[in-house]
Symmetry: C2
Subunit: 380 residues, 2 copies
């Protein structure tokens, strides 16, 4: 678990945010259907709670379940969310009244609240000025989260280390019994090994797609009882979550014979992956890197249906986003402490899909590839 | 997979909703961080898409990934979401312009859109009257979903059947090797058996909590490599998802010696579970049943930190909600076709937790218990 000190350091930055903007409080929630890992980032409590941070420097957590919060949360005060019947307006009203906020209080609510929920708060508490915006507190915290501190980096290195052991294991498994392992067995191997090595779990549900299912970016169902590693291209996409921080890698498994389309796709992804690595540099906008990659695919007659990559950390998808479409929008340039996955991929309804994804730590002005995902070529 | 006809039948109900309210369109989304199973309910496409239903009776799906949509979605038209750079305002603007909606069009957006996202739509498309409310289209669809049709019921019976086979297997496993099985092995046993029997996957991440971790309603991490079934009370909570529809059961595993608190908790949950079953009756408000249960716990000196139960179906938590707190709010009375889980439970920081959860189909005026979860008592 992270040291308590780090959580307080992060909370301090929010208190400064409040002061700068003359806000009385900010409110975040992590609830079913409305997840927000920034809550865990700020106080260590993993899920199912509201978190208030108040100007002047105090924090109140309203967890659904109190005992785990007492064990883990780095906050000044814990009040059971059930005291307010797990109702957002009741909880917010109760806390605001209890604090005796004056009538002109300004409270910022995370932009990850649903529209009707914020509308209701504004109606129920008309005296309070509620602010809820796209580029407000969430973007502020996501920008903090996009640059990892040294403790976060060591957690991500550990997630990468476990991931690499698993990659070796997958290669052994598939080489020992080519065409015999099922998608399900492979998915279980990944999760068991991760947990045995001390991971908290997976960062997201593993995807294992044998050649006839690999045409989808996110195959559905995520894995089945059919065998993996048959002729053509199979995809395995997984992440290991260590103390909250996830890795994210994709291997493609190649088994001959291949047709011309498959050969061209494989070559294109390999080339473009190398190009992407070479484009990563200090001070560069992530969208510019992504554009270089999209352009290279176009030159080869292909189009990638997803972004080049994304930050990883407490979320499997966070800032920085490496997507052409974000060009012109505000984005932070590549700098030390950023950790992100790059994942060039191509998909064809008949030929199947191919993707290569590794995790990059940008440190000391250079890209360090943390994970060892690669194409696994099985014997015919 | 469901027959296409059923999806059209459901879409028809939305077209009537549009006509009754003089709306031009409704918009739903199922996206990362903003899940909404009503999209799958209406068209069969499992995830990552926007869905428009237009007055007059036509539907347009904007899936992120087109090939799986072409395979599964029951809609009139498919447009890649990537054509609009996966941007909600761009997609909504594009679709509205393309349809040539007039300036006074009224469009209802699901209440599961974030506040800043709806605010942006209103700003970008000021001519359109956007409606986004708590008790609008979402509640309408959730009410439809709370009463299952015959096809849904047969899918849920199949999910329950697989669940019951797994419960038998868990009992055998734990009895054969008491104190030797790890939380992880048990979780994997559940998932492997489910998928081997044809389940799409799990309804939610399994919870397996040995006695020292069972004090939390939702133990964290969900399972570890420590052994299960030691002295005291362990909890196993899982659901099997069959063609999208999930079961939800909780077993408690009891191994002596027990202290007085544990004995009292076990007895209370057993008594109250029986009481809950006896309270379920046609025409009764779910909150009234939940209140009876809360009252019974109070009489025994306990307080349950969560609701009595919840509907199950495409979501693990849906309508009807069996919670005392919903009293006074609009709620549908118990009727034929409702499927819900009841899960009385108690938790104590030292004594651990105990919960018993089974799935109920209300049919022909009676509660039919679909699943066989029970307390598993291991030899000392």
């Amino acid at each position: 678990m992270l040291k308590r000190d780090n959580f307080h350091l992060r909370q301090e930055k929010i208190y400064t945010y409040l002061e700068d903007r003359k806000l009385e409080a900010v409110l975040l929630a992590d609830l079913e259907g409305q997840r927000n890992k920034s809550l865990r980032y700020l106080c260590g409590h993993p899920r199912d709670a509201l978190l208030f941070l108040f100007a002047g420097g105090s924090s109140t957590l309203l967890p659904w379940d109190v005992p785990p919060a007492e064990e883990r949360a780095s906050v000044d005060r814990i009040i059971p969310y059930t005291d307010y019947d797990r109702s957002i307006p009741d909880a917010v009203g109760g806390i605001i009244k209890e604090r005796g906020m004056d009538l002109s209080s300004r409270v910022e609510i995370s932009g990850r609240f649903f529209f009707p929920s914020v509308t209701e708060l504004k109606q129920v508490l008309p005296e309070v000025e509620f602010i809820c915006q796209d580029e407000g507190i969430d973007a502020f915290i996501l920008n903090l989260r996009s640059v990892k501190d040294s403790e976060e980096i060591s957690l991500m290195r550990e997630a990468a280390h476990i991931t690499n052991e698993i990659i070796d294991g997958i290669e052994r498994l598939l080489s020992d019994k080519p065409g015999k392992i099922t998608e399900l067995e492979l998915a279980f191997y990944i999760e068991a090994k991760a947990r045995e090595m001390g991971a908290e779990g997976l960062g997201f549900e593993t995807l294992v797609a044998s050649p006839q299912r690999s045409f989808a970016v996110h195959t559905f169902p995520n894995y089945t009882t059919q065998t993996i590693g048959g002729r053509g291209i199979s995809i395995v996409d997984f992440g290991v979550r260590f103390s909250g921080y996830t890795s994210d890698v994709t291997l493609s498994i190649i088994r001959k014979p291949l047709n011309q389309v498959q050969k061209k796709m494989i070559q294109a992804v390999e080339d473009v992956y190398d190009l992407a690595l070479s484009l990563i540099a200090f001070g560069k906008k992530p969208s510019v890197i992504a554009q270089g990659v999209d352009e290279a695919f176009r030159e080869r007659g292909f189009r990638m249906p997803h972004g080049l990559g994304h930050g990883i950390g407490l979320d499997a998808h966070e800032k920085p986003l490496l997507r052409s479409e974000t060009q012109g929008k505000s984005e932070k340039a590549i700098c030390d402490g950023m950790v992100f996955a790059i994942e060039p991929g191509l998909y064809h309804p008949e030929a199947g899909g191919i993707r290569l994804e590794n995790d990059i730590l940008f440190t000391e002005g250079k890209a360090e590839v943390l994970t060892d995902a690669h194409f696994i070529r099985l014997p015919v």
